[in-house]
């Protein structure tokens, strides 16, 4: 809302000042851990362990990043994640559009039934084990398919895409196209898709982020190291503290136990940055689309 024309009264001035202070504190408490992790990833291991890093890097070094890029599993994890993300998102977006368009059409007989079929799955599920048994019985265990096909249709994304189609593609357009003998497939390809790029951008982002950050399905479905996405490798290193020291010795001299421990600690900070930076770089550019996506979703949940 625009309050610009209205002059603040005394009480409102206090309100405004307090508001800015609260927001700044909020901002700092979210920002500080991010800055600390970033600074630590460039600091010398000793400085981190002894607590001398608190805001800016101390004893600048790139050893942590060198160690990250020499770690064999991290490289292959990165490549696998990239593949799961691209292939998975392509399947997701195609299926989502195919589901959303017909259900956006008011003349589709039984569309409420179909909608219920989709939405009900968000309220009730068979549970983890029947799902696991299904994936196993389909022969997908330890294959890339387990990462791509289960959960390929995101119901929330179907709902927001459908809402977008309903609100931004005028009925008159369909009528005009139908008078000219345009089939539904042609209408989707030539009219709906070109008009729907904003929502396609939004769901592409939602799905892509989901794939990049996905760890649980890999955790239960994959056994071979060469299929591991980045998140599983991250789990080994960050959570299980499972770091192959032989790989690190090629980067820097790690003779003493203390040095090893320091470097493995530094490696974790660098790894956190490397795993998160791709999304953080893309996200400011696409933030407005994300916001739009959530807003469309909130129109009709």
């Amino acid at each position: 809302m625009d309050n610009r024309s209205i002059r603040d009264s005394g009480g409102d001035r206090w309100f405004t000042a307090l508001n800015y202070i609260v927001l700044t504190l909020f901002l700092l408490s979210v920002l500080y851990p991010l800055i600390y992790v970033l600074s630590a990833s460039f600091s010398s291991p000793d400085a981190i362990v002894s607590g001398r890093v608190w805001l800016w890097p101390v004893g600048f070094t790139l050893d942590g990043y060198k160690a990250v890029f020499h770690h064999k599993l991290i490289g292959s994890g990165f490549r696998n994640s990239l593949f799961y993300m691209t292939a998975g998102t392509t399947i997701n977006v195609a299926l989502t559009i195919l589901a959303a368009y017909p259900m956006a059409r008011k003349d589709l007989y039984g569309r409420h039934l179909f909608m219920f079929l989709f939405v009900f799955t968000t309220m009730f599920s068979g549970g983890l084990i029947p799902f696991y048994i299904l994936v196993r019985d389909l022969g997908m265990l330890n294959t890339v398919w387990a990462m791509l096909l289960p959960g390929a249709v995101g119901v929330w994304n179907v709902v927001i895409t459908r809402t977008y189609f309903q609100t931004s593609i005028p009925d008159e357009m369909l009528e005009a196209a139908q008078l000219d003998g345009c089939s539904d497939f042609t209408f989707v390809r030539k009219i709906v898709l070109p008009l729907s790029m904003p929502i396609i951008a939004v769901i592409t982002l939602f799905y892509a982020v989901g794939h990049w950050n996905q760890y649980f399905s890999a955790f239960i479905f994959l056994k071979s190291q060469n299929l591991y996405p980045l998140q599983i490798v991250l789990r080994e290193i960050l959570i299980q503290n499972n770091i192959n020291m032989d790989m690190l010795s090629t980067v820097v001299d790690v003779q003493s136990a203390a040095k090893r421990e320091g470097l493995s600690n530094l490696l974790k900070y660098s790894l956190i940055v490397v795993a998160t930076v791709p999304l953080m770089i893309v996200y400011p550019f696409v933030q407005k689309h994300f916001v739009k996506g959530v807003m469309i979703g909130s129109l009709k949940g």
């Binding site: 409102d12 920002l31 589709l108 998160t276």
Partner: protein
């Protein structure tokens, strides 16, 4: 929406069409729907069918259909088990704690942001508070572990600098739920705020104008105009949250768990995973029963809360 004029009635002039004609008319649409519907049936509804093994003794070689019925055996075993009350208590306490801690902050953030005039400031606050949402759960837990590390973490450096003994955070069962909940609030506050900002943006400016003319201060406008404006969406989110009351997630808790904090960190989801997939006994039926128990309670809560919200004339899902 039944009753509203559609392109259908427009073209057919409202004359009666048989059901079959309508279906034939939309055959290309059904063709489009076929693949996604197939996916949902296979990956969502087939597991619901498979959930019947909760009442059977599932044996891999006999399959879901061929295994023997045992009725409520697994149910009785679960509700009488030593784990039962601990799981229920931990699940509910983590869930309620998350709800109570997680609900007000996004609303407060949205209300505050709504009164910021500087667009640049507003944008930067949004951009930065939104960023943690993109951090994966593994990295998130990794950050928590690093920062809270007893010897190397910054938090304990500060605690020591203040003259206290370092705290082994992840080894303290009493602190587990707080760490889980507050790291979640930190990560989600910016994202959850967006939906409230959208609701605030859709409030009729005339309401604010007349409030100003009546001499209402900003605080009063926040209370009497903004808050009622976002109530419906808050109620909807509350209902949806209630529908996932017992889903506290396999991912984050499983990653944060260790033998020292198990007393407060073992929840239904993690137990379901362990009983079937992380134990030599591979007790699929028992685990499925526990999962089903959870799903049924979730659905019941959703329906119940929605009913209450509808009766009290707040928003409702259906």
């Amino acid at each position: 929406m039944p009753g509203e004029p559609t392109t259908e009635t427009f073209r057919s002039g409202g004359t009666g069409r048989t059901r079959w004609q309508k279906i034939r008319k939309g055959r290309q649409l059904y063709l489009m729907l076929a693949l996604p519907v197939l996916f949902v049936i296979v990956f969502n509804y087939v597991p619901m069918y498979g959930a019947q093994i909760a009442f059977k003794n599932y044996v891999v070689t006999k399959g879901i259909w061929g295994s023997e019925w045992v009725g409520f055996k697994h149910f009785h075993r679960f509700v009488n088990s030593y784990e039962y009350w601990r799981l229920i208590r931990n699940t509910l306490s983590i869930s309620l704690y998350s709800l109570i801690a997680g609900f007000p902050f996004p609303i407060l953030l949205a209300l505050s942001l709504n009164y910021v005039r500087s667009l640049a400031f507003k944008k930067s606050v949004q951009m930065i508070t939104y960023a943690p949402y993109f951090i994966s759960v593994v990295v998130m837990v990794g950050i928590v572990f690093e920062l809270l590390d007893p010897r190397k973490g910054i938090v304990n450096h500060v605690i020591q600098a203040l003259g206290f003994e370092p705290v082994p955070f992840m080894a303290k069962a009493g602190l587990f739920q707080s760490i889980y909940v507050w790291s979640g609030v930190w990560q989600m506050v910016g994202f959850s705020c967006i939906i409230y900002l959208a609701a605030l943006a859709s409030i009729d400016p005339a309401l604010h104008e007349s409030a100003v003319i009546d001499g209402a201060s900003k605080l009063r406008r926040m209370w009497h105009v903004d808050l009622p404006g976002i109530m419906p969406i808050a109620v909807i989110l509350l209902i949806i949250n209630m529908g996932h009351m017992l889903d506290v997630g396999y991912e984050k808790i499983l990653l944060m768990q260790n033998s020292l904090n198990l007393r407060t960190s073992e929840v239904i989801d993690t137990y379901v995973y362990k009983v079937a997939l992380n134990s030599p006994a591979m007790n699929y039926s028992y685990s499925t029963l526990i999962g089903l128990f959870k799903s049924v309670i979730n659905l019941a809560l959703l329906v119940l809360v929605n009913q209450v919200a509808r009766k009290t004339r707040q928003a409702s899902l259906w």
